[in-house]
């Protein structure tokens, strides 16, 4: 996916200015930046939730030329947990996950056998099959987050955008999430995440750093230059340490 001179607007404010980056296909890209930098706005610009200017293309095809359903089948988005309005959601877990199949369904048809099959598969994968008949508003934060992740996977899109997907997940489910990431990458999916947990973000293949609505740096996550840029992004208030094969972020 290639972004050229992308500006994103929230109301009258330009929250992201002239961003030009390439998100490598089949890789995991992590967007990092301080609070209010424009990370979530970038994902929302890519999914047409927020208006944007500039060009977004997938394998050379301008996404403006795609229909809204084609676009929805290509790019799936997971909201920040508090964005999902479950407060008045009367949906069961099963039906919530089935919503991910909407881009594949025509108006007049009920979910197909294949739709049910896909939903069963992602429920199994996200360990949510045992709560399939429960209402979304009855679930704990972690359970809810897994269900929303299952909904994202049910879209079967090639590009998955996730805004703080680890929120409310306990350490075992964070570990599961990493396993799913690797599994999705092995299936050729392109992953783009916004993460506050830098040690998880450093496990991505590619890092994009944003500060005050502008591109700060982009590069491979294991490149020392990227690490220097990351420390500079947080004004030297973090340090990076290597533990085995993984990098850890610690307070400076």
């Amino acid at each position: 996916m290639k972004l050229q001179d992308l500006s994103v607007y929230r109301g009258p404010c330009e929250v992201l200015s002239n961003l030009s980056i390439e998100i490598p296909k089949g890789k995991w890209t992590s967007i990092i930046g301080p609070n209010g930098a424009g990370k979530s706005s970038l994902l929302q610009g890519l999914t047409n939730i927020l208006p944007s200017k500039g060009q977004i293309s997938i394998e050379g095809v301008d996404i403006q030329t795609l229909s809204s359903k084609q676009r929805a089948r290509s790019i799936a988005w997971l909201a920040q947990n508090n964005d999902a309005a479950e407060e008045f959601s009367e949906l069961t877990v099963y039906d919530t996950v089935m919503l991910g199949r909407i881009p594949h369904q025509s108006w007049l048809h009920l979910p197909s056998h294949h739709d049910h099959h896909v939903v069963q598969q992602v429920l199994l994968k996200t360990h949510t099959q045992s709560i399939a008949t429960r209402f979304l508003h009855e679930l704990s934060g972690g359970e809810k987050q897994r269900v929303l992740l299952a909904r994202l996977l049910a879209v079967e899109a090639d590009i998955l955008l996730m805004d703080e997907p680890l929120t409310n997940l306990d350490p075992p489910h964070q570990a599961d999430w990493l396993i799913w990431q690797r599994e999705l990458l092995s299936q050729g999916k392109t992953l783009v995440t916004v993460l506050h947990e830098i040690q998880y973000a450093l496990r991505a293949d590619h890092l994009v750093m944003i500060k005050e609505g502008m591109l700060h740096f982009e590069g491979a996550s294991n490149d020392p230059k990227t690490h220097q840029a990351l420390i500079a992004l947080f004004e030297g208030r973090i340090r990076l340490e290597k533990l085995g094969n993984e990098w850890l972020s610690l307070p400076a």
């Binding site: 999902a84 309005a85 959601s89 919503l99 909407i102 049910h116």
Partner: protein
């Protein structure tokens, strides 16, 4: 796929509906009437049966409108009465009555009243949305609906002031009344209900998607703005056609979706269908009460639904099932 014995529940509710319609047809001012003399047959088939079926259909329209409103605005308090659409419909009826000397029950005059009620209902709900600055705050939307209801109520009072000859007709609409429902009126409501139910069921994925939030719904490739407007149109149509035949019936649209929430198993289509049926049962049941509590005197059914529905709303508030987003 989770099973929730929906067909059985549906069958029980439909059985109850049929029983109530049958009861409504044999329940006279002097109690249940088991002997069908020729004179009684006319009363049964020309007065009681259309009235019972009509009351059921009006309740079903309001139940559907309530279910649409609550899902569309993600607001458990949304209903045609509280959103301002019912008072808008009543104003529409009042204006049509003022503009024409509609006294007979021919289909043309019915269409005039229905058209006016639909336009008024649409105006009412759009005005409440405009006043609330959208639908994101439950409390603001509710208060705006109440304000619109007061303003439209005042406009209706002005109509009766200007045209005192219409006072009785308008008063009957304000209190809610099923006594004058004819076969024509029942037919029109039946057609409106069929149209609204089919269209809403087709659009139900939109309502489901919206329960995950507007942004998520947008990423599923749904043209939300157009579809939301279409659903508001259906809401206004259902409310308008019910109000045009029965007047203001409070709280049926609010209570019906809540009553079936636990048996619909979280399925949007089931919730819509069951709310429609329970709306019919609620209004027809209330109508039977209105006819029998002080028999042979009959009280307006709107009073019964207001008392029952208001008490139910209080019960929901006390049980904490209804939260308020600021």
């Amino acid at each position: 796929m989770p099973s929730n014995q929906l067909p059985l529940k549906l069958l029980i509710l439909l059985g109850l509906s049929t029983a109530l319609i049958a009861l409504g047809s044999i329940l006279g001012s002097t109690g249940v009437d088991w002997h069908f003399a020729d004179a009684n047959r006319i009363i049964l088939f020309e007065i009681r049966l259309p009235r019972s079926i009509g009351a059921y259909l009006a309740g079903a329209l309001l139940g559907l409108a309530g279910a649409i409103a609550q899902s569309l605005f993600r607001n458990p308090l949304a209903d045609p009465y509280l959103l301002g659409s019912a008072s808008g419909a009543l104003l529409g009826v009042g204006i049509i009555l003022c503009l024409s000397s509609v006294g007979d029950s021919s289909i043309i005059s019915l269409i005039g009243i229905n058209g006016g009620a639909f336009a008024g209902a649409l105006l009412g709900v759009l005005a409440a949305l405009l006043l609330a600055g959208g639908y994101k705050s439950s409390l603001r939307l509710l208060l705006s609906g109440v304000v619109i209801g007061v303003i439209f109520g005042a406009a209706n009072s002005l109509l009766t002031f200007v045209r005192p000859d219409l006072y009785q007709s308008l008063q009957s609409f304000m209190l809610g009344n099923t006594a004058l429902i004819t076969w024509n009126a029942a037919l029109i409501m039946g057609m409106a209900l069929s149209f609204c139910v089919v269209l809403t069921l087709l659009l139900s994925p939109v309502l489901s998607a919206l329960s995950l939030g507007e942004n998520t719904a947008r990423t599923l490739g749904l043209p939300l703005d157009q579809l939301r407007l279409l659903l508001i149109g259906i809401l206004a149509l259902a409310t308008g056609f019910a109000v045009a035949q029965t007047g203001l019936i409070a709280f049926v649209g609010l209570a019906a979706p809540h009553l079936v929430r636990h048996i619909s198993g979280g399925r949007q289509r089931a919730q819509l269908i069951l709310s429609t049926i329970s709306g019919g049962i609620l209004l027809l049941g209330s109508d039977l009460l209105a006819r029998s509590i002080f028999a042979p005197l009959e009280i307006p059914v709107g009073i019964i639904t207001a008392v029952l529905g208001g008490s139910y709303l209080l019960y929901l508030l006390r049980r904490g099932q209804i939260g308020m987003k600021k």
